[in-house]
Symmetry: C2
Subunit: 340 residues, 2 copies
Amino acid sequence: MSDRITIALDAMGGDTGPDVVLPAALKALDRCPRLHVILVGPEEILTATLKKHAMGLNGRMTMHPASEIVTMDESPVLALRRKKDSSMRVSIDLVNEGQADACVSAGNTGALMAISRFVLKMLPGIDRPAIITHLPSANGHTYMLDLGANVDSSAGHLRDFAIMGSELARAIGNIEAPSVALLNVGEEDIKGNEQVREASQLLAETDLNYVGFAEGDDIFLGDFDVIVCDGFVGNIALKSSEGVAKLVTATLKEAFGQSIFTRTAAFLALPILTSFKKTFDPGRYNGASLLGLKGIVIKSHGGADAPAFANAIDIAIREVEKQVPQAISSRLERILSKAR
Amino acid sequence: MSDRITIALDAMGGDTGPDVVLPAALKALDRCPRLHVILVGPEEILTATLKKHAMGLNGRMTMHPASEIVTMDESPVLALRRKKDSSMRVSIDLVNEGQADACVSAGNTGALMAISRFVLKMLPGIDRPAIITHLPSANGHTYMLDLGANVDSSAGHLRDFAIMGSELARAIGNIEAPSVALLNVGEEDIKGNEQVREASQLLAETDLNYVGFAEGDDIFLGDFDVIVCDGFVGNIALKSSEGVAKLVTATLKEAFGQSIFTRTAAFLALPILTSFKKTFDPGRYNGASLLGLKGIVIKSHGGADAPAFANAIDIAIREVEKQVPQAISSRLERILSKAR
């Protein structure tokens, strides 16, 4: 790896496309002098958007053409088969060809996963990719995976997710031996489904800092560095938590607006609400990593604004610096060679 | 059913036992003139607790002896096999013998489930019991099941849960044709695991008001009356939501205490916090039903206070009034006879 870090940005992904991606690129370039970005998308749209935001290309920001766009509700299989010149596909191709060290997209998660897997291929010994992100918790934050790349994960898959999550937490979170827990319905050994119980035995045999089972409330209240689960469960846990957080916020907002009395309180409570928002700002937690691939792919939330998208670029930079795919590969090899 | 409703109360269940159950009984008796309660537990403890709370037995509050106690962390299998005179077991026996119309316990969920299933037996055609409760949502509330009675539910089990949940919402929630959704990771038909997709086909063939898939955030933000899932998923969705709600509350509380300025705001914001607490008060939502059994069993939260436990008694009363087990049985029969 040279001193320079190049990130390909799918400029057309997400709800707002280049209007978010281009200003986000500028922010990220400002923060990281080593960074170079490649804006990927239809040239005329990119040129118009640059003009609109009074931005210009330069030595650290270049453009790469891509004529097609993968829409948010497009079938992943069709996006993979038919849109070989989409901004998403070309961004991933640039990583595969070594022209970029990583790519970031706010597009359709299923398509991003399918295309990444097809183009970049899986790391040796890893069967399935997983999606990981960090979430706020009472004791800092928790890395959680899989968040929806897989359903019906076997015990072996859960073991692989644990290895990948542990390496990411070590590299990005700077945690020497991240504590890893399996998400389960109870803390006793007898509870849970078969895959989870079997995965627990597999994990106990590794040199990971495996600490046993976590329950749902431990995601936000516990002090585990990494929590591992099947993608079906992870997706539902994440979305139901988002749901309750939104309901709480809406209820508070409604209550604050009810009378002149409560509106005064709202004004006085401004620092509180600001601090509250800061803790739960989805932007701070934007940027999920697709792990298990032979390259670095970061998924930004489709509705992310420019600061949040810039946060996803920062995560890509850190994964390049720490060479996360290589770290996962060598950890897996070490664990499997001991198991033999 | 006579006009009189008799509920057996496991006086020793939960974190605080009779100190919560006895005052709760008094509250419930005050609210419902038809109600009679049987306090089940060791006589000397019950007598001492009655005295402590300046309460006395009367025509509507009687006592039934039980010498043993099932602890909160006891193995369900051992509780079932070895503690045949526990307050939990005797409460369920009273329902089975027709001496009580329903029972309420704040004890160990696994033991309550195992003993209920063994003593009361399942309704004909129902393979597995399920746990259901109602949760606050942006549009009122949502009944959700299964919350942890089962892991690895088949498509047929999910269909049965849907029938049971729909009947409960109809009976208790007074909803004529409750909308029923299956919890899934995406709204498109292609997504999700095999059981959920197959269950969706089974449900489309019933006369339930089946409306398709719901995602995690729909539990708290959607307008589905009933959401159905496997117990592993349901337990984790519920607990992770509780976790995020607790984290939000703790963060707000900390922020309000930070300075004299924010403490003033907290004082002014009192009506807001009260309204907030009212919406999210776990007591309001206390009382989960064990469905699919030939009798009515209500699980109160182990940490419930007296008003919350009284709420669980109210749910038991409503289930007796509406004869929920019979309603489930006849609905199931109708659906299965049409499917034949």
